[in-house]
Symmetry: D3
Subunit: 280 residues, 6 copies
């Protein structure tokens, strides 16, 4: 599942307008409009590549005649020194698009790489990794794509495609049962209901009204295990709450179906990738 073409076009045009503005002063003066070159994207450290179609879109937006050739597909784990894509065409377009394409590629590859670390640890327990809405404003579709590339599963895209009952909603409605009743009356039939719970009593309530997903919020691992037993397959179970690479196996061992990790997108170390230019 790739990123929608219209969305991708709009995000890339926005990014290029931001960086190129009224023009790339240095490159447009030093290089002739008709000069061509070859550029190679090379990984400088090990990681999982994500975002190649975004990088391609950057250059196509600058020059529709550019040639782009991927040497790996998104999702490939490469080691340092690996050439991941080649570009062939106008030097002006290659240099003007360099930083923007790398900004996308390094960020998305970082997300895929980080996701994959969690995925591998959880996989041993048959548990899957979820993303959250803690994404960069404006780039959610791309970042959720990168999570998928890294082997993760997407949680809801926004406030509009799933219902998530949190403490404030419960308090307002009076109880989980009442909140769910209100939602079932008005929600589109295609929308799932998830409840964020903290206690066994809340879980019982949630099961009573047949919610689709139960999120165990910041629950101690012992209690998590009990929760999973109580739920017993009657709803999907998601563990949440600052779970990191050190603690993830505890949560996974508790038997939940999913573990969601905000840090996949809100805290990242850019993956080092460079673009090298060769004159033909």
């Amino acid at each position: 599942m790739e990123v929608n073409r219209l969305l991708l076009k709009r995000i890339v045009e926005n990014a290029l307008s931001e960086d190129v503005g009224s023009g790339d002063l240095t490159t447009e003066i030093v290089f002739n409009k008709n000069e061509i070159a070859v550029g190679k994207f090379v990984a400088k450290e090990e990681g999982i590549i994500a975002g190649l179609p975004v990088a391609e879109q950057v250059f196509i937006t600058l020059d529709p005649w550019i040639n782009w050739r991927q040497l790996v597909e998104d999702g490939t784990k490469v080691s340092a020194g690996h050439t991941i894509a080649e570009i062939n065409g106008s030097v002006q377009a290659i240099l003007s698009g360099e930083r923007t394409s790398l900004n996308f590629l390094q960020r998305l590859s970082a997300i895929a790489t980080k996701t994959n670390l969690f995925v591998e640890k959880a996989a041993k327990y048959g548990v899957e990794i979820l993303d959250t809405r803690k994404t960069t404003p404006g780039l959610r579709a791309l970042e959720k794509y990168a999570v998928r590339v890294g082997g993760g599963i997407n949680h809801r895209f926004g406030l509009y495609d799933a219902a998530m009952i949190k403490d404030n909603h419960i308090e307002e409605a009076g109880s989980i049962v009442k909140a769910v009743a209100l939602l079932k009356e008005s929600l589109p039939i295609t929308v799932k209901i998830e409840v964020e719970v903290e206690t066994m009593e809340q879980i019982e309530e949630a099961l009573a009204c047949k919610v689709d997903i139960i999120m165990l919020d910041n629950m101690p691992y012992e209690e998590m295990k009990k929760a999973v037993d109580m739920i017993d397959g009657k709803a999907l179970v998601e563990a949440s709450g600052k779970i990191n690479l050190d603690t993830i196996e505890n949560a996974a061992a508790a038997g939940v179906n999913y573990i969601s990790v905000g840090a996949l997108t809100h805290s990242i170390q850019s993956l080092d990738i460079s673009l090298d230019l060769y004159k033909p």
Copy 2:
């Protein structure tokens, strides 16, 4: 220097469209349109706050009648538990804007906080910290604002407001001197020229043609010192190349004027801030 109002409006509308989409299913069903509440933004860990005007804009966009009160200004260092802003008004607007406002605030505060760590180390040597173009696509103006809030200085905003001669430009033009000559002939008179150099010979060349800024790219600290001596105040000197908190004092001690750090924006750990809701 704040972020331009028109730009801020557009970025925030874009972020809200992404998250809220056709509507906040849960909150709009559970809460009545006219209910009000008080929300408090609380820092959950120590750091420097940045982005409060962005958070305010999120809520004003959702409901122009909302009341926003900052308890600290951007740039304040707060400790865990500190309330940084209060919001008063429609619960629907507060809950629908919660995630988007936090996504901005946590990211920008993280940048300000990280910048400040570098700034403090460099300050002892009278050296200043610069950002780079390695920012999140679409958020450059906000991220560069956060760098300023953290005590850093901005480098160029894009390809359009400064000329930066890199290896490819030098090779194309034939020499630094030739590249600078080409630029001086065509650049707007208000645009500065910076050259990225790797050797003493290149520095000599750069000084000969009176560039404004010389960037020492990945230079060993010993050599950096010699470079600073050779330049001797005839150009501003910027050190660049994966300098981190462990190595920054080496660069600073070498006597450069500025150290640029891509990681200020490309690799961040979200600062933990929460929004707590109180019914009046």
Copy 3:
């Protein structure tokens, strides 16, 4: 659940640009800029009103100082002659916004009214009415809102918020089971799966892989009844296929949970509403 403010603003600005263009030649010449008047929206035939907040937005966009007062809420059934809203302010704004506000109001009220006819017939059987994606391009959020106002329930908003397996998908995957397996592997966990079936065998398959919703596509009413028996509450059941006011009770009597009706939005008779002007 109202229509998202940002979306509403954009749709209304688009509609006004289309109708007013470079200016309302007649009104701007004949009326003085400062003249005011009172306008009354009056239903000219019986129906359920929907779209008053949209009409309000039309006038606010033309003149932020206009006063708008609703005499009924959306969802009220009114008879011919009933005044549903009053507007007070600039004559220029009232006349320039008249046609656009009526175009919205008459269309949305028509949808709410038509929906309600189906809802009332189905209600006797405890069955609910669903809309479809057969909406007017560009107005889906408003039209789905009108369906809710008329007592209907929304189906998915687009291709992005639910999975719907149709004949082509089944054929491609090889079977319903295989298609569902593919989807469960990649879908966001918050997304429901619906399958369109035509035979009892397909229903068995769908139940085997625990889909959320089964749509009986153009099924004879006798068979529909058997299908409902076979499904026996293990999935939600939706009947579909050109069901109209004459045939709906057959489908409802078959025991399905939902009946979807494309004609709610693709074939409508505008509800007659007028705007009368009074000089103060």
Copy 4:
């Protein structure tokens, strides 16, 4: 006269963003990106086809490499079972664009078909059919195009391209003569003036000041005849006021030049057209 290319592009992109959003979950998961198929648009009932270039634009927007072949031109009357266009290319694009293309095609064909029913009845009397501004917000250019395809003639496109004096304007100015005088002083010279009249006195006034078009508003057919006699070719005559297929011949027989029918666009029955997929 087709629909302006830039306008068409914008309307179609807007419609696709609405339906496809962040992606077509089902199709993108079940189908491979490179698979191709043939799709056939088939009329399921008799009618006049309108909107084929709009449907084409839907698919080209999703995939510029798609092949589109029209088997009939817009304006052709086809019977049930007739294949009207074929599409050849990416299955993903065909399925993702199916609903949006049909939503346009069914609506526009419905308008052309309905228009043509009126046109045929009026043609016997040498009278022509006009549309109104009672169009779907955002789709006016397309709907007016469909009216032309059905044999109708367009009335003004908006408030900006013709002056139309209604009762409120007359009351404000003091008389038709005064209103016309005000307009003639300020209107662009290329703009025609039409007056809506209800009495013979008003017609006399309108003739006295040489307006271009006189609209007989809700006039009894007997009176209409007298009005036509009085006007005697000195202005174009338009009859208006909920004229339907049963009453149109009365108005036509009265000798007016044009009959305008709001229902052409505000009340339609979608024309049934389907898209069938064939794997090659």
Copy 5:
């Protein structure tokens, strides 16, 4: 007739984005955000003022709390030294909007002033001055407004609101008669037809098919007089063809109804207006 509010807003936002970009570096650093001042717009030479509502919109866009007070209305002839408007509020907004507001005001006042010179000369002969489509791309609505302010009359706004038959159309259709016939068959009934003619034979043809306006293109003044006699009130007559202030009376004396002057908008001398700042 003012400029449509939505259009004005869009044009001004576009202009400010262009000039202010990511921020007004000088003013935002030197001035405190809360400082206020008074600004006075003063005419530095004699002329007719146009564009005050545009200037107001510039400042309101930068700061909704600014106070704007016009001392004259658009259309007033002022002499050097006259204060035309005062602004009171944020210094940052006043200084950041200064250049953009003046760019609009000086250009629009120049157009109004130039138009008025032609209007005064033509008025003696009862002839009116028309503008053309030779306007600045993106500013047509504003420039046509300025022409009205200067006493001129607008010609068509674009290719969409009037039909203008030129030599190429005549040649293609075969004759003026044939071109008019084609147009009458398909044009909206509200659209006027104008023909550009060069000979008496063409005028005869144009009269035969009852066009609304005849444009005498680059016709010698003697011949123009004959043309007016031949037309004899059966169509409006427009003279066109590089008529300037020296030659306009010749054309006016020939008895035409209108003289169109492209130079009103394509060749202007900015009217000198300044903005002076006073600290309170």
Copy 6:
């Protein structure tokens, strides 16, 4: 240095939407969609051509299949009668784009031509000509491009890419020295500082704090000479203040480096260029 592709696309689409609107009534009715022709752009008076890529973009936007062939490059001085470009393709596109393309071409060529007159006079003294921010709102990038084509040099593009200290800033800060100090503390390091001065004392101050550019504002030529002597190469010197073709040599002889001329863009005489159509 050409105009950024994304910017050009947006400006041209905006211009065409303005002129073509819902369609070119005359051309689309008279000409068949498939007819082709050849168009020739011919200079009708001597001047320097600028804007050919903009004209090309106009036609490509209307019809991507059009063929465009430039016979001269932007910057060529042509005499009356010279054919500067040929276009080959759809007559509808050629005629619908005629006025818009000419509006761009005539304006930009006028700017290039006017600039060149100043450039030639200044060149004798080794002085260069600068533009200002007194450009047409929305067209600054194009107009600054035309200035470069005419041999001029660009000044800053907006408030965002250079700091310019004027009287109000000096007064607010207390002195030039204080204003510069404030700026140096906060400005991006890549931004130059220019000061507008009127007296020798101010120049001394400006030199003391090492500003990059000193602008002599409306200074008598005698004093200008002294100023240049005092500055003695320690800053770039720009003369400003309604310098025209009669007075420019006085300023140039004073030894300044640059002379800025607002009239290059705020007061122009459109260069006469026509488009002639030939049927093949």
